[in-house]
Amino acid sequence: MFPPCFIEETLRTLMLLFPRYNPRIKKWYQKEVSKSACGLDKRLIGIGNLNAEERQSENFNYWHDRLVILKEVYDETRPNTLSQFWYDRRNGPQWYTFWVALWVLVLTIVTIMLTVVQCIEGGLQVYLSMRA
């Protein structure tokens, strides 16, 4: 009933989005299955993988436009929450810069706090020694 190669191509879009042997996706999908009420197909994560050559937009005809739109929206989004920053490693150097900067910021804040404590302690010492 379906056009030639249509079903095969649809399966390939699913292989692209749900690659087999990816433990993270497997775990996440199993959670989705148990969460959802509509009865998700458990077979989805077992269907297969695409290699680099197959992962080209030109290999898709029926779903080409929708796939490209989804890819564009995905590429355009910039992370907003901290967890999105953590998972977003599309731009490697930027990801490292961000997390190193965050680490430095945390260390600075801790240093400032310790300095304040030291100042108060120092003052207290002078005050107590004058009273004695």
């Binding site: 009933m1 379906f2 056009p3 649809t10 779903w63 929206v73 977003d88």
Partner: protein, 216 residues
């Protein structure tokens, strides 16, 4: 009396699963060997038959069965055989009148929509009391096969540059990094359609249905 003759008002019997699969999609290949013991039948196309039961409920059982003209699972299989032939909607209706209970055109059309939905997993025909975020398709002209072919054969509108879909472009990252919610759908025509101001995307999850179509 076979299990196919059971009324749509009863729960879908497990025994009809293999029969329904053959009637709706043709003979299965040896690729899918299964044993007819109960626990196995339970898992056999379980997500598809959830959809099947839900659609029967939506159309076949609505208004005490007055919404459509199908009464048993056998009626569904009879219509399925008609829809696989190159017949227009009106011709299918003509063939139905002798076989099914007497009904008007609207009831027959609703039955047609139900069976087309079951065969193709495409939401064909609007059902006013159906709640759904996606769209439905209206099959009016030609036979069902032509209609499906025409719908999916949309000429490409965008320029086809070679875009690499890198490995990290998977469903989990689309959701986690892209912030695009995944809405699971039973409607093949909604697959990969972006919704909700590009904040969500439909994904058709019935992989076993697709695989079965492939190995026929």
């Amino acid at each position: 009396m076979s299990s196919l003759d059971s009324s749509l008002f009863d729960e879908v019997p497990l025994e009809i699963k293999p029969l329904a699969v053959v009637h709706l999609w043709g003979q299965q290949s040896s690729h899918f060997v299964f044993h007819e013991d109960k626990p196995n039948l339970d898992a056999y196309f379980d997500s598809y038959f959830k959809y099947y039961a839900q659609q029967c409920d939506l159309i076949g059982r609505h208004e005490n069965g007055e919404y459509s003209s199908v009464e048993t699972h056998r009626d569904i299989m009879t219509i399925a055989q008609l829809l696989q032939q190159p017949l227009t909607r009106a011709e299918v209706r003509k063939h139905m009148t002798g076989v099914l209970k007497s009904a008007n055109i609207t009831q027959h059309d609703n039955s047609n929509n139900l069976v087309a939905r079951l065969m193709l997993m495409i939401r064909i025909g609007g059902v006013p009391h159906e709640y759904s975020k996606g769209r439905y398709l209206e099959w009016e002209e030609g036979n069902l096969r032509e209609f499906v072919h025409n719908y999916f054969a949309v000429p490409p509108t965008r320029d086809r540059d070679r875009i690499k879909l890198e490995k990290s472009f998977n469903a989990l990252n689309v959701q986690r990094i892209g912030g695009i919610k995944i809405w699971w759908t039973d409607n093949l025509a909604d697959h990969l359609r972006m919704m909700d101001d590009d904040k969500a995307v439909f994904i058709f999850h019935h992989a076993s249905f697709l695989e079965h179509q492939l190995h026929k």
